[in-house]
């Protein structure tokens, strides 16, 4: 963690950090965009998972749902990355010294990899995914595990705001 602390202190000494401190209105806006985008990602992941578990279809096949929602998840994740980076630069110590932050990043990378693999498989063989009989055996595991991972990511993200004071 010492390395992260030095890194955080270095970010804290940059001009960008100072500029964000002087323009205090930017971070609340960034956090608001962050929460709207997290809603888009979390809601989309919930709909995809529930459909894979057989709950709710809205007259659409699995491939239609995935092909509609996954691009929105990528767009929202891009904005989450931009706003999250901005918030980390503004308050580096708050973010970088907490184990919650590191775990959150690890889980994001993991669930993103799973989502990319899922989405590519659906695009390659939509027909196989659209029928529960021919769907890959891991479909339900993916649904449950990815939803649990996203939930944990949201919980960790919210907790960073509280626990950093203990570690700093």
């Amino acid at each position: 963690m010492e390395l992260f602390r030095h890194f955080a202190e270095w970010i804290g000494s940059t001009a960008l950090n100072e500029w964000l401190g002087e323009n205090a209105w930017i971070i609340p806006i960034s956090q608001s965009i962050h929460i709207v985008c997290l809603a888009v990602v979390f809601g989309s992941a919930t709909v995809i998972s529930l459909q894979l578990l057989g709950i709710g279809r809205a007259g659409r096949s699995t491939s239609q749902t995935a092909n509609t929602l996954v691009p929105w998840m990528y767009r929202a994740l891009f904005l989450l990355l931009v706003t999250g980076t901005l918030q980390t630069i503004a308050e580096p110590v708050r973010q970088l010294v907490t184990p919650e932050f590191i775990w959150k990043l690890v889980l994001i990378i993991g669930v993103l990899a799973m989502t990319i693999i899922f989405s590519r498989s659906v695009r390659r063989s939509p027909a196989a995914w659209d029928s529960p009989a021919t769907r890959p055996g891991a479909a339900k595991s993916f649904a449950v595990i990815s939803l649990l991972m996203w939930t944990t990511i949201v919980v960790l993200g919210r907790l960073i705001g509280y626990t950093w004071a203990f570690y700093a």
Partner: protein, 167 residues
């Protein structure tokens, strides 16, 4: 008992004190309730956005409006109840402070408007949904209701985040 005295009485309850972190050993309660609130609002907001984007006519075009709303609204309402309960618990912890905050008042004005918008939509054009269930573009009043709801709920989430910043 006037309103201020009532809010003071709410703040004085053991639950409010525990959520406020004023009870030793209970300082984890506010983060937990707030996290529940965030997850619930994520589901409220995203399910509303999915229906709104369909009403505007730019997403889920292959799904009928009536079927989509039938499948999404139970999620919206369940999550809304969870958000309302967790939000009330957060509110009583600093009732007078939140009540005095202009952002808090604005958030509830926007929620009221979102409710009126929803009611007008349901009592109006949605009564004849069978005529336009799969029409693209949807009727102008439906598109207006969807666009208004998108703007109002985005504003509600922003104001909610701002309350946490300044209250």
């Amino acid at each position: 008992m006037n309103l201020h005295a009532f809010l003071k009485a709410l703040e004085a309850t053991p639950l409010a004190a525990a959520v406020r972190g004023a009870t030793p050993g209970w300082d984890w309660l506010f983060p937990i309730v707030e996290t529940v609130h965030v997850i619930a609002l994520a589901l409220v907001f995203s399910s509303i956005v999915m229906l709104d984007l369909r009403l505007v006519g730019i997403a889920s075009r292959e799904s009928g409006v009536s079927r989509l709303s039938r499948e999404l609204l139970p999620v919206t309402w369940t999550a809304f109840v969870v958000a309302a309960i967790s939000g009330t618990i957060l509110f009583i912890s600093k009732a007078t402070g939140y009540y005095a905050d202009i952002r808090f008042k604005m958030k509830f004005v926007l929620m009221f408007l979102a409710g009126v918008n929803m009611l007008v939509f349901h009592k109006g054009i949605f009564q004849r949904v069978a005529d336009w269930d799969i029409s693209i573009p949807p009727p102008a009043t439906a598109r207006f209701a969807g666009a208004a709801s998108l703007l109002l709920w985005t504003g509600i989430v922003f104001l909610g985040r701002y309350i946490g910043f300044y209250a």
